[in-house]
Symmetry: C2
Subunit: 110 residues, 2 copies
């Protein structure tokens, strides 16, 4: 089983910005960036229910922001940093830098 990813030429700026324009997904992206290693879905438990995290991860994948590799029963999720840096130079860096200082989403604040 393999999950569908957009090709670089199918990634649009509007879709990327729209996908990043959500506190939960920003937190996921910030976590992926901070950790620097592939993470599985369970690592994002704090950001919502299993179902909901799956939904947000699908959004990020479909926008071209993350890569999801199937590994057994797990999914290994990484940022598509090279693709994004090529398509939209500086964008991911500035978003991540800004997200670092800002608040985490609701679920993790309680």
């Amino acid at each position: 089983m393999n999950l569908p990813h957009p090709l670089p030429e199918q990634i649009t700026l509007a879709n990327v910005l729209s996908a990043l324009g959500d506190p939960t997904r920003l937190a996921i992206v910030a976590t992926l960036n901070r950790t620097g290693t592939p993470l599985n879905c369970g690592r994002f438990n704090e950001f919502g229910s299993k179902t909901n995290v799956s939904y947000h991860l699908a959004k990020l994948r479909e926008a071209g922001i993350t890569n999801t590799e199937v590994a057994g029963t797990s999914r290994l999720i990484t940022l598509r940093r090279a693709d994004l840096d090529t398509l939209f130079p500086g964008l991911l860096d500035s978003v991540i830098a800004a997200a670092r200082d800002s608040a985490a989403p609701a679920e993790s604040r309680k």
Copy 2:
């Protein structure tokens, strides 16, 4: 009559990204940046109906991306570049650079 703008500390990254994550609004922002001077609403006619442009401009203003000054029957719209550059360094530049190369929204493509 004066339109409400968020204070700098009320501007959030998620709201800004979400507001930028729309082709029409990206085109408006790119136009504002390219022109460099205050523009009134009518200058965005090509991007949609009068009502619809008003809606998108309100979105941008409420997200803290634009400033709208009332001048007679006109509104003079500018980018809040200083505020955005302070809050989210490099973000606006990378978005605008990426938007420059990408497609214009539907209305202007016909």
